[in-house]
């Protein structure tokens, strides 16, 4: 191997990873700045911006809203998606392909279109509240992920064990809860995490559905940074990234999350 080639691999990797991770490290560094404006290199060291994040009223409200949408929307998507995945993988379902296409379509259509369509033809005509509309939009958005991940883990589970349970006198429902559910637990948790992260970071769907006082976390961050150029959005970004990386790492460590995604 020539010197040129042995240098090639580390150099390429260094440049690519610097490009992918570097900007985020700058944000993390900037959030410890003591200065008044967002800048790199940071001016001095302080925790004031990290502390400020917790005192901004709109951040608290929008964080609560995003948590509600991410957890509630994912649970709702699972309640709809698990039975649908089960029907798709275990039954001869008439129109199975149509059902599959409909439930997984929200992933293909750009979020901004879903948000606008929902606003114009559901929210306005039926006088639905913004929070409920956001909840419906996020549920629809997470549904494709829920069906995909749960279907994948159902496919990996042999169906004859539940048929055996039914033959031995269990009801179909009993077989599902006692035999199938324990076996696809990991898949369900993976779907939950994927749905949570997707919903929490989602912007375009929520764009038109955010009203005065009702904003999701990322939209509130964009609105804040358009007005104030201090490091608090950097501090908030660092904290949120820590949260999602922590969740995904814990999931990978305890569940082997990446097997399902």
């Amino acid at each position: 191997m020539t010197v040129a080639r042995s240098l090639f691999i580390p150099l390429v990797l260094f440049l690519v990873i610097a490009f992918l991770i570097g900007p985020f490290l700058i944000i993390v560094a900037a959030s410890f700045s003591a200065g008044e404006t967002l800048a790199f290199p940071p001016q001095g060291f302080s925790l004031r911006w990290i502390a400020k994040v917790f005192t901004v009223e709109s951040f608290r409200a929008s964080f609560g809203m995003s948590m509600f949408l991410a957890i509630g929307g994912t649970l709702a998507a699972l309640v709809l998606g698990i039975p649908a995945s089960y029907a798709l993988s275990r039954y001869k379902l008439p129109g199975a392909e149509i059902v599959r296409t409909i439930v997984s379509a929200p992933i293909i259509v750009p979020g901004i279109i879903v948000g606008l369509a929902l606003l114009r033809y559901i929210v306005v005509p039926f006088q639905i509240g913004i929070t409920l509309a956001l909840f419906m939009a996020h549920t629809a958005l997470i549904l494709p992920y829920a069906v995909r991940v749960v279907s994948a883990s159902l496919e990996n589970l042999r169906s004859d064990i539940e048929e055996a349970a039914v033959l031995l006198g269990s009801s179909r429902l009993g077989a599902f809860f006692r035999v199938v559910m324990p076996n696809i637990r990991g898949g369900i948790l993976s779907a939950f995490i994927l749905g949570f992260v997707t919903s929490f970071n989602q912007v375009p769907v929520s764009l038109f559905l955010s009203g005065p006082g009702v904003r999701t976390m990322p939209i509130d961050m964009i609105a804040y940074m358009e007005i104030v150029f201090d490091p608090s959005v950097a501090a908030l970004s660092s904290l949120l990234a820590l949260m999602s990386i922590g969740i995904v790492f814990a999931a990978e460590r305890f569940l082997g999350f990446s097997r399902y995604v």
């Binding site: 990797l13 690519v16 606008l116 369509a117 549920t139 375009p204 990322p218």
Partner: protein, 281 residues
């Protein structure tokens, strides 16, 4: 396989009805708006209006251009990076792949925000340029196509690298050494061996990157500002500033046609590969 149809429908219908009511029906109505003639019947005049505006033409072409450019550049960088990663020892490979995937878990707002610090008037790039004497006045990098390009590339490069890593790993291990032994230079090895054998991975990655660029909102909104628009930001502006829902419907239709076209291409390549596998088996 259970045969009970009523049970199957009872399980599957709630999800299907929910998705149809919340998503499918509203989106179809929205898309039909652009074809509706105010005087009754159907027309494509909204599309003619849309494309006869030089501003809209510029936005449409810019979206295509940035999408294509980001896809091509991410493919070039992606091959180099994926090739380097595949050739690492197993322990390192997992760690480096983890670093490549890591940005996908971070909010796109945070990832885009970082570029303001880097590319802004008092940002790192301008500080460096002035310190090195390349420029006396701060350059205007933010709110330009360049800024959007950089932001989109950073956002979607991981998807390309991951697709190419799995394609390169599925390649027969001795294909490259064999070509080398037979006298091919590195350019020929790439063009005649690696590229044909990893074509599917490239198409999967390329489709993900291209549709990602088409439908990205945050990056053009933050790094392009209100002047340098892409289709998504134009659509937002048409609704929130001009209240022009017909134009918004036209843009929505264009975006959907473009993402569907990319997805159909993806499916076609995937089925072609399955057929090949079946033929081989």
């Amino acid at each position: 396989m259970f045969q009970n149809r009523a049970e199957a429908l009872a399980l599957a219908l709630p999800a299907a009805i929910f998705a149809a009511a919340v998503f499918l029906v509203p989106v179809v109505i929205l898309l039909s708006d652009g074809f509706r003639n105010p005087a009754g019947g159907w027309t494509i005049s909204a599309y003619i209006d849309f494309f006869s505006s030089p501003l809209n033409q510029a936005v449409f072409l810019r979206t295509l251009k940035l999408g294509a450019l980001v896809t091509v550049v991410s493919a070039v960088i992606g091959y180099a990076a994926a090739f380097a990663i595949v050739n690492l020892e197993p322990g390192m490979k997992g760690k480096v792949t983890g670093l490549v995937v890591l940005p996908l878990m971070i909010s796109p707002v945070a990832r885009t925000y970082a570029w303001i610090v880097i590319l802004g008037r008092t940002g790192i790039v301008n500080q460096a340029f002035q310190a090195l004497g390349i420029s006396d006045v701060p350059l205007r990098i933010l709110f330009s196509e360049t800024a959007i390009f950089i932001g989109l590339l950073q956002l979607f490069l991981p998807l390309m690298i991951i697709s190419l890593i799995s394609a390169l790993e599925n390649m027969p291990k001795d294909a490259v050494p064999a070509a080398r032994v037979l006298g091919a230079n590195w350019f020929q090895v790439f063009w005649k061996v690696i590229l044909p054998l990893t074509k599917e991975g490239l198409v999967v990655g390329g489709t993900l990157v291209f549709t990602g660029c088409l439908t990205a909102y945050i990056t053009p909104a933050i790094l392009g500002g209100s002047k340098v628009l892409m289709l998504e930001t134009l659509m937002y502006q048409q609704v929130s500033v001009s209240n022009n829902f017909v134009a918004a419907s036209v843009i929505a239709f264009i975006l959907i046609v473009m993402s569907f076209a990319a997805n159909i291409l993806l499916k076609r390549v995937a089925t072609a590969r399955n057929k090949q596998r079946r033929a081989a088996a």
